[in-house]
């Protein structure tokens, strides 16, 4: 194991910061090390790179990203330990952030940063939410009568007309977060019953949302439990940049999204977010990056190009997305502190032979 005095200083500084949360910019404590700011990103290059360009333009700070899945990057950061080159971890899922936090990888953030988002402040203050996506039921308007769609995700198991026509992603993190919320809102037994009920309808399991929605378009399934922005992606036809709803007319659209009743577990809002690494030697630049993620520029960019919702209410939204407040109202309110039992969720999914 390499011991570096500068790392020790940083660690001490981190302890000091953790001790007094009022402390603001920790740049005052240690000047940043040379070299670009290093972001480990569980989000795809295609989504992140345009934002990094804007950050470079806006701040003049050099930034480089290392991409991978959340799981790959988390495993790598744990192996790297104190020697990790990462300054910022930008995760694609809440689960990964919670895991990074409990592994002690993330540094305490100042209140000035934590107060900026209008929703989803995490317990512990070690990461900031960056964007929001909602769970929805995607369906084929050509093959499914809208009236047949249930108002609660809990009623989906009873729908015999969807036998063999349901798609889900049991191994995917967003789905697992949804199962965790089912457990929090309705208890483990109801959750097991719901899973068994869906299984009885012979659903098709996909590794992730993109191939599932491709399958929906291809006619392999009729409904899919997914995240809202994948529906816009499909409507956009695989192109880049902003989505023009006028380009797809409502009748021939291959896929549409259905929201359940207000407060239903099926409408769960899921956040992506970012934190600063405990071992970062470029804390000043890392803070500016996190701050930039919460700026109107970055928030609107995510909304326009990724179709995710912002976490800052003031950020302008494209017209085809629901207004921020209405979207937030759809999701059930869940205490984030109760969302951390991933193990219990995995156990239930393993018992159901889905993992």
């Amino acid at each position: 194991m390499r011991f570096s005095p500068s790392l020790a200083i940083v660690a001490l500084a981190a302890v000091a910061i953790a001790g007094c949360r009022e402390a603001d910019e920790p740049a005052a404590v240690t000047p940043d090390e040379a070299g670009p700011l290093v972001v480990y990103s569980g989000r795809s290059e295609a989504l992140v790179e345009p934002l990094l360009d804007r950050f470079r333009e806006a701040t003049g700070i050099e930034v480089e990203a290392r991409y991978g899945t959340d799981a790959e990057l988390l495993a790598a950061m744990r192996e790297e330990g104190a020697a990790s080159p990462a300054d910022v971890y930008w995760a694609n899922t809440t689960g990964a952030l919670v895991e990074a936090q409990s592994a002690g990888l993330l540094a305490q953030l100042p209140d000035s940063l934590l107060e900026r988002p209008d929703a989803f402040a995490p317990a512990g203050g070690r990461w900031v939410p960056a964007t929001v996506r909602f769970r929805v039921l995607a369906y084929s308007p050509a093959r499914v009568d809208t009236a047949a769609l249930p108002t609660s995700v809990l009623d989906l198991p009873g729908r015999q007309q969807f036998r063999g026509r349901i798609g889900w992603t049991p191994t995917y993190s967003s789905f697992q977060d949804f199962v965790t919320v089912l457990r929090v809102l309705h208890g483990d037994d109801s959750t097991r019953a719901w899973i068994e009920g869906i299984k009885a309808l012979e659903p098709r399991a996909y590794p992730s949302n993109t191939p599932m929605l491709e399958a929906l378009v291809a006619g392999e399934i009729d409904v899919a439990l997914t995240n809202h922005y994948y529906v816009f992606r499909v409507l956009q036809g695989g192109g880049e940049g902003a989505y023009d709803p006028a380009s797809t007319d409502g009748v021939s659209a291959p896929v549409a999204l259905h929201a359940f009743a207000t407060g239903d577990a099926g409408n769960l809002a899921l956040v992506t977010g970012a934190g600063m690494m405990e071992t970062s030697g470029r804390r000043s630049a890392a803070m500016r990056f996190l701050s930039f993620l919460l700026s109107d520029t970055a928030q609107s960019l995510a909304a326009e190009t990724v179709h995710e919702y912002p976490v800052v209410g003031s950020a302008p939204l494209p017209a085809y997305l629901l207004p921020f407040d209405r979207a937030m109202a759809l999701s059930p309110t869940v205490d984030p502190a109760r969302m951390t039992d991933l193990e219990g969720t995995l156990r239930i999914l393993r018992e159901a032979e889905l993992l």
Binding site: E45, A205, R233, E240
Partner: protein, 530 residues
């Protein structure tokens, strides 16, 4: 030591020490390979020991895993069958007959290697189903393949080139005089094929088959898209869904145990065989087998197979190109340069290491040299994510300055893909008569010079094919690239993966195109070398 070599050393006592040292030279790459393969094993064992016995029973030793193991073996057997059926006739036709467009079909037979497995799987999915491109083109609704069939087709298409290249390299090196002798003794053609040609194909076929099977064992991208659950999928899920390194290590070790058993079986099939020419004189130039009037129908048949293998993925990517404009074009040259800067040295290094390992195996057969070769294959079967984590673990402890540098990435590629280079080189060495090198020694050449002048020219073709395989795989590689590459390093493979993950098919298209073109150029270059 052969008697000729001994005589040479006895006749020139002053050189005995030099010769003794030279004998160790092939052991240098061998030692590197063993170390490189042992490191991930050690890492996995270290992590595995952190396990809690009760959890272990829940996560690792459960019936589901046994079922997945059964799925894996069934899929591997099926893929082996189909890839043989695709590659064996094609290799024979392009090497031994006068079928038209032999060169083009040779290139097409290797070309699926240029396409990442998950792109082939995506293409299959996009082409089928009532709204798939194939159905729209033909007007006939073609159903989506079942999970098993999808995985079987995509993997067979993707791995058939390993078989094709290995069999082709062996066929090219066969001395026709054996067959002619059999024919002149009155053996019918079919009998000659069965009793003379096929047995000689054994080392090439086994090398190809080993790669195909190990590829299926380790594949994650294709089986997950096809929704067919295999053991490697369980390993990946343990890392991905559980954010866990400990129980994943157990599963990875179980996968390696399975690999070990398969390799032991393969090794038994090659012991004590002689594949080189024993007679004097040059191998005769072969006259191609005339297909006569069947030439064009056979070419058409090859064309249909090639179209199925290459056409569907290429058509899919072309369709993606039409989905809109993208910034990928701007980033493409730099990412292609990055990919080549790692894949080219990795291919050369893999070729050099494989030459050392194969030389030991073929020319100095011993339990030790057999072990070295088996171990090299173990590296191929190590799940890449586990390999990447092991390299992080050891490089940061031993040489932190090397971490996330191009040198480390090249070494990782070379160690991981070395077995792909091994097959063609091993087959070529089996066919290069040891007597030539012994004669060179007897004429006073030092061991290295004797090898360079007598044996090397005969294995050059195999070396080229082997290095090309390692190159094509390095170009497609993902987990090692993501975690070990230098900062800011981007390859087209990363671009394709990142974009398809978000359904940004327009963005994926230029990268996928670039990979296919770069790989095709490489394939053509290697073929022209011959």
């Amino acid at each position: 030591v052969s008697s000729a070599a001994l005589r040479a050393e006895v006749n020139r006592p002053g050189r005995a020490a030099v010769a003794g040292a030279a004998r160790l030279i092939p052991w240098v790459p061998a030692a590197l390979v063993v170390a490189g393969v042992a490191l991930p094993l050690v890492y996995l064992v270290i992590r595995a020991f952190e396990a809690d016995p009760a959890e272990l029973a829940d996560l690792v030793f459960r019936w589901r895993n046994l079922r997945l193991l059964g799925n894996t073996i069934g899929l591997a057997a099926a893929v082996l069958g189909l890839s043989t059926a695709l590659a064996l006739p094609a290799a024979w036709l392009v090497v031994r007959t006068d079928v038209p467009f032999r060169r083009a079909f040779t290139t097409l037979g290797v070309l699926p290697l240029a396409i990442p497995g998950y792109v082939i799987a995506y293409a299959l999915l996009a082409a089928t189903g009532p709204h798939g491109t194939l159905s729209l083109l033909t007007g006939v609704p073609i159903p989506r393949p079942t999970p098993f069939v999808g995985a079987w087709l995509a993997l067979s298409i993707g791995t058939a080139p390993y078989m094709f290249l290995n069999i082709r390299a062996t066929l090219l090196g066969l001395d026709p005089s054996l067959e002619e002798a059999a024919r002149s003794l009155g053996m019918p053609r079919a009998e000659v094929a069965r009793r003379v040609v096929l047995p000689q194909l054994r080392p090439g076929y086994l090398a190809g088959a080993t790669l195909v099977v190990l590829h299926v064992l380790g594949d994650f991208g294709v089986v997950s898209l096809a929704r067919f659950e295999t053991f490697s999928y369980a390993v990946y899920l343990q890392y991905a869904a559980g954010y866990d390194r400990v129980y994943a290590a157990w599963l990875a070790l179980m996968l390696l145990a399975l690999t070990g058993a398969l390799l032991a079986a393969e090794g038994r099939l090659l012991i004590g065989r002689q594949f080189s020419r024993t007679g004097t004189g040059l191998a005769r130039i072969r006259t191609p087998f005339g297909l006569g009037a069947a030439r064009w129908p056979v070419a058409a048949g090859l064309g249909v197979v090639a179209l199925a293998q290459v056409g569907v993925p290429v058509a899919t990517v072309v369709d993606w190109l039409g989905r809109g404009t993208t910034r990928a074009w701007r980033d493409l040259p730099a990412s292609l340069a990055d990919a080549l800067s790692a894949a080219v040295p990795a291919a050369l290094l893999a070729g050099a290491l494989a030459l050392g390992v194969a030389y030991l195996r073929v020319r100095r057969p011993s339990p030790a040299s057999r072990w070295v070769e088996r171990l090299a294959y173990v590296g191929y079967a190590t799940p890449p994510l586990a390999l990447a984590l092991a390299i992080i673990f050891f490089s940061l402890r031993a040489v932190p300055a090397l971490y996330q540098t191009l040198a480390l990435l090249v070494a990782a590629y070379a160690l991981h893909f070395l077995p792909e280079a091994l097959g063609p080189i091993r087959s070529a060495l089996y066919q290069a008569p040891p007597r030539l090198e012994e004669a060179a020694r007897a004429l006073g050449r030092r061991p290295m010079a004797a090898f360079a002048e007598a044996t090397f020219p005969l294995v050059r073709r195999g070396l080229g094919a082997g290095a090309a395989l390692a190159f094509l795989s390095s170009l497609k590689e993902l987990p090692l690239t993501f975690l070990l590459s230098p900062l800011g390093f981007r390859t087209p493979a990363m671009g394709v993966w990142s974009a398809t993950r978000e359904a940004l098919f327009a963005t994926a298209a230029p990268y996928a195109m670039a990979m296919m073109v770069a790989s095709a150029v490489m394939v053509v270059l290697v073929m022209r070398e011959e």
